[in-house]
């Protein structure tokens, strides 16, 4: 990548803009999108930046088209992304599934706003967390990251591209309106090509190439259009040749591999941050904008002498099962503040499995938790 494509330095920018710059740093050169609050700034920045560096920006007729154009571009060998919010995310679901089935590297940013339906277009929520996991039909496994700052909008967009290329799967950046619209210092570093991941590429002659070769690992090498491989890919259940195969055996083999390529690599994929968790009796599990408030509440609790800690989820899908299970034997209670009526808390409950108390602090959206609300819950659970 030419050096002048990336604008390195320190900036005061909002999260959406940082997301666009992160994509450019990651090597993304194709963006297809549709205007939607509060994600529009990602598209606006891309429409300005991509033409400057020889990339393609296209505004499609809707989010369904945007998602498909992203998949098409990825199959032409270009790193591609889209950005949207709730209603658009719903429209993208079917073709996120196509991305999973064709094993297409790409990134989808969802700057979450409050729903259901049109909801509160300009106000924050975290209500799409389970949709991110299960929104498309059929059984699959996906990767989703949650930034808590404009800096992480940049950093995690780079990570999202790397993970999508490594595992050949759409990666979701589950931001929220507060983080997307917040302006803070963002450092854009020089990223060497070594830090960027590119999809595995075929090393065999076209006549020997199998688009979904399952013999040598869980992530098959990916040819792209125009190289002479003359491959076929389909959203139908398919065999290693990419040919439709309508049997339970083919379904079993394919779905197991699609799931296992993520599931068996959870340790590599799943990232989280811990603040004072080691000796904690009460652990707050949170993510995104809510985690910033939880961090303050934990700090205040510590000042009061309460052994509180924060487990901030950076990767939400796949979920940090092992770490929560481990902590469940050591702590009295988990507190889960999230801007919905209880989504990720179900995962915490599943992993805790009754070994400690799990307490949800919900917020229906349109605002964020008060630090005092979380602090009060910490005090109560510490007693």
């Amino acid at each position: 990548m030419p050096k002048d494509d990336v604008r390195c330095g320190e900036f005061f920018m909002n999260g959406d803009t940082a997301c666009a710059e992160g994509a450019i740093s990651a090597g993304c050169r194709f963006f297809a999108g549709y205007p939607i609050t509060p994600a529009t700034e990602v598209a606006e920045r891309m429409s300005e930046r991509l033409p400057q560096i020889g990339g393609v920006f296209i505004q499609m007729e809707d989010e369904i088209a945007s998602m498909n154009a992203v998949l098409g571009a990825s199959w032409a060998g270009i790193k591609a992304m889209t950005a949207t919010s709730g209603p658009g995310f719903s429209l993208m679901m079917e073709n996120i599934g196509l991305g999973v089935m064709l094993e297409t590297p790409c990134v989808v940013a969802n700057v979450q706003r409050a729903g259901p339906s049109t909801g509160l277009p300009t106000l924050v929520a975290q209500g799409d967390m389970m949709q991110a996991r299960w929104g498309s039909h059929g059984h699959y496994e996906i990767i989703a990251l949650v930034p808590d700052s404009p800096q992480e909008m940049f950093d995690l967009t780079v990570s999202a591209f790397n993970l999508s290329e490594q595992y050949r799967v759409p990666v979701l950046l589950m931001a929220d309106e507060a983080v997307g619209h917040m302006s803070e210092k963002v450092v854009i570093p020089e990223i060497s090509s070594k830090e960027l991941v590119n999809r595995p590429r075929p090393k065999v002659a076209p006549e020997k190439y199998l688009p979904y070769d399952s013999r040598k690992g869980l992530v098959p090498p990916m040819a792209v259009a125009g190289e002479g491989y003359r491959f076929h890919v389909t959203g139908l259940t398919h065999d290693d040749r990419g040919y439709p195969t309508m049997t339970a055996e083919a379904q079993d083999k394919l779905v197991r591999r699609l799931v296992d390529k993520i599931r068996l690599n959870i340790k590599d994929i799943t990232k989280y941050e811990e603040v004072k968790v080691d000796d904690a009796e009460v652990v707050v599990v949170s993510y995104g904008i809510s985690a910033r408030i939880a961090r303050y509440a934990v700090q205040k609790a510590r000042e009061e002498g309460i052994k509180a800690g924060l487990l901030r989820l950076i990767t939400v899908w796949p979920f940090a099962d092992d770490r929560i299970r481990e902590l469940a034997t050591a702590v009295k209670a988990f507190i889960v503040p999230e801007i919905n009526y209880g989504q990720m808390v179900r995962e915490v409950e599943r992993c805790v499995a009754g070994k400690a108390k799990v307490r949800l602090i919900p917020h229906m959206g349109g605002g964020v938790h008060l630090p005092e609300t979380i602090l009060e819950a910490i005090r109560e659970e510490a007693q």
Partner: protein
């Protein structure tokens, strides 16, 4: 007793996934002949097959991508065009063809059809129109003629159909033609012309569907619909697309209706790259 049959290789086998034959289409269906025209047209146009991609949606016609030995993509219902748009814009050197049925491209994918034509993106769309949803057993769709029977219009279809050439011409397509699978020579020539012409090209191909549409509309054998095409077809190159509406038993106007020049989407985007100041050669 087993009888030995020798099948000689066809010179165009190199364009087909012969290991997937026999195909799934019914006896008397027109998708096979149209696919034959397509591969002969690629050969005729002298295109490098390594640089040609085929994108399909869902339905009987959506299965074409799976039988053609080119880079081929079988996507979701109605979404072949936006997928193809991403493919073409990310690599403008590719020749991109979309094979689609009438329900796929004009109902669930209708929005993408008009916007692709509006943008004049350089691709060729071959729309097999068999007047119904064949794959799911013969339901009415946006091209089913008024009063035609289908499994969801048992008393006759009460909706007006699209006149597809008029729709895409009005939306901005620069090449619009219609043929039936009786007009194989004309169709092959037309596809070759469309594949090499810059801009959005749309070819409607009327095709028998004896298994469902034909059976429900008093044409139960593939040949019945072919005879009907023979009797009803009128070749009128340059006909005004407004005048080529189809009906249950009326005349079928075929021919090349539109062949005009207009900068393609990529031509226009290239100017954006220049204006942005750093046009890199792609």
């Amino acid at each position: 007793m087993t009888k030995m049959v020798t099948i000689e290789a066809n010179p165009l086998d190199c364009y087909l996934r012969v290991d997937r034959i026999p195909h799934i289409w019914c006896a008397g269906c027109g998708i096979g002949p149209a696919t034959g025209c397509f591969v002969r047209a690629i050969d005729r146009a002298g295109l490098n097959p390594d640089k040609v991609s085929v994108v399909s949606g869902i339905g009987c016609s959506g299965r074409v991508a799976g039988y053609i030995k080119l880079d081929s993509f079988h996507t979701t219902h109605g979404r072949a065009l936006p997928f193809a748009t991403g493919l073409k814009m990310a690599n403008p050197e590719l020749t991109v063809a979309v094979f689609s049925g009438d329900g796929d491209i004009a109902a669930i994918g209708g929005n993408h059809l008009i916007h692709s034509a509006r943008r004049n993106i350089d691709m060729t769309v071959i729309c097999i129109n068999n007047f119904n949803y064949g794959m799911t057993g013969g339901q009415m769709g946006p091209t089913t003629p008024l009063d035609a029977r289908s499994t969801t219009s048992p008393y006759g279809n009460y909706e007006y159909p699209f006149n597809l050439p008029y729709l895409v011409a009005a939306s901005g397509a620069t090449y619009v033609a219609r043929w039936t699978v009786l007009h194989l020579r004309e169709l092959e020539r037309s596809i070759a012309e469309a594949l090499t012409k810059p801009g959005f090209s749309f070819i409607e191909v009327l095709s028998p569907c004896p298994t469902v549409y034909g059976r429900l509309n008093k044409q139960p054998r593939g040949l019945d619909e072919m005879h009907s095409y023979q009797e009803r077809s009128v070749i009128r190159d340059g006909a005004d697309p407004r005048d080529v509406e189809l009906s249950l038993n009326g005349p079928i106007v075929v021919g090349k209706f539109v062949d005009i020049e207009r900068p393609t989407l990529w031509d226009c985007y290239r100017q954006v790259l220049d204006r942005a100041g750093k046009h890199k050669k792609r």
